[in-house]
């Protein structure tokens, strides 16, 4: 990470090799379009390269930090473009999948991790899970979600907070371990 900050292309390449797949996967999960996900991933990594990284180790792993940047950029893209309307229509639909091959132990571990987090999400009451997914992966604001689900904004905010609180309990082991 230090070397990326110093402008080393090789260090940057290593950063991409380790986190590029997860970054693209998150953007793709949010926009449902491979070309757009590629553009967003490219912008996110170039911003990392050009800003000479302001990674703060006290705020979590490098992966969490990279994924946070990708998430913010994807939300910006969703709120700016027409994708939102399409996603709104698709949200209940079956999504196209291009699953990654499990080539390494690291990738296998990540898939196992993904399954565990999804299992934890499944334990939430349905309305909390749906609210969290619409916000985090759909990029919808609380007021948009209130409109979509025809519920008061206060109810939506409450579900987000309660849902995260329950998820935190479920995922205590993950949070303590912080996967690299």
């Amino acid at each position: 990470m230090q070397l990326v900050g110093e402008g080393s292309p090789r260090a940057f390449e290593l950063l991409y090799d380790r986190h590029g797949g997860a970054a693209f996967s998150l953007a793709y999960r949010m926009v449902g379009d491979r070309v757009m996900a590629e553009d967003i991933s490219q912008e996110a990594f170039l911003s990392i390269w050009r800003s000479r990284m302001r990674y703060d180790a006290s705020r979590g792993s490098v992966r969490t930090w990279v994924l946070g940047i990708v998430h913010n950029r994807t939300i910006d893209a969703l709120r700016r473009g027409s994708v939102h309307e399409r996603r709104r229509e698709q949200f209940e639909g079956v999504e196209e999948r291009h699953e990654a091959r499990e080539r390494t132990d690291v990738e296998a571990a990540r898939r196992e991790e993904a399954r565990s987090v999804r299992t934890a999400l499944d334990t939430l009451p349905a309305e909390q899970r749906r609210t969290i997914e619409l916000a985090y992966f759909g990029g919808f604001s609380h007021s948009q979600i209130a409109e979509l689900l025809d519920e008061p904004i206060g109810t939506i905010k409450g579900r987000m907070r309660l849902g995260l609180d329950k998820l935190r309990d479920q995922l205590a082991d993950f949070a303590a371990g912080e996967f690299a």
């Binding site: 940057f12 970054a23 693209f24 491979r34 390269w49 990540r110 999804r118 916000a135 609180d165 995922l171």
Partner: protein, 230 residues
């Protein structure tokens, strides 16, 4: 702590999930500066929000993503270090990268395009110091012209479509069978755009335009959509 603490406290989840508007987020972060209780609540719940992206099904990124990223990164590292980057690559090599295996028919096609551009519709206007050369374009209802000065030139385009986010227009100079990367630019809502080509073009054969990923490319990733033959 502000008097609206209860309102802000209710927004902790929305803040962590990215579900506040820009104005709401700024206001919330302003409140966090003064409110230890809300700061604590944000840090308490942040690990749960941070794990959400890890629930995502892993999909294979397109191989071109890494390639185009590293091209930009290595070029910028070279420029920063003061060592000239590999700016000039033989045109045939660039076309080879662009077109994969079908090099020879594609080259013939490209040659025909350039020959047509050279033969038709190229007007030269202006005085001794400045001349304007009209461009040939491949997209419908688009046009362009190049104002050529002694040691630089200005390319103006009109009617160009707005590109999707993350894509930009990039100019190129063709010289001695090589294609050199020039600056990138975007067009306005009216389809107009301008880019400076900071080069003496006296020995150049053409200025080209393509659509590239933001940050620009080292080699064109499509056939030119605009050609100014000099």
């Amino acid at each position: 702590m502000t008097g609206d603490h209860t309102t802000y406290r209710d927004e902790v989840g929305a803040y962590l999930l990215g579900a506040l508007s820009d104005a709401e987020r700024a206001s919330f972060e302003g409140h966090l500066v003064d409110c230890a209780e809300c700061r604590h609540e944000v840090e308490r719940l942040r690990p749960a929000a941070d794990l959400l992206p890890r629930s995502v099904e892993q999909v294979e990124p397109p191989p071109g993503l890494k390639r185009s990223l590293m091209e930009v990164v290595e070029r910028e590292a070279n420029e920063r270090d003061g060592s000239p980057s590999e700016r000039r690559t033989p045109l045939a090599e660039r076309l080879r990268r662009l077109l994969g295996g079908s090099l020879r028919p594609a080259l013939a096609g490209a040659a025909v395009v350039l020959a047509i551009a050279a033969g038709f519709g190229v007007a030269q206007l202006g005085g001794e110091d400045t001349r304007t050369v009209v461009a040939q374009t491949t997209l419908p209802d688009t046009s362009g012209s190049l104002k050529v000065h002694d040691d630089d030139a200005i390319l103006e385009v009109r009617g160009m479509p707005s590109l999707e986010r993350g894509r930009v227009y990039q100019a190129w100079v063709q010289r001695d069978g090589m294609v050199e990367p020039e600056p990138t630019f975007e067009v306005g809502a009216d389809g107009r755009g301008t880019v400076a080509v900071p080069e003496d073009l006296s020995d150049a054969q053409a200025v080209l335009l393509t659509r590239e990923p933001r940050g620009g490319s080292r080699a064109p990733s499509e056939k030119p959509i605009l050609t100014v033959t000099l």
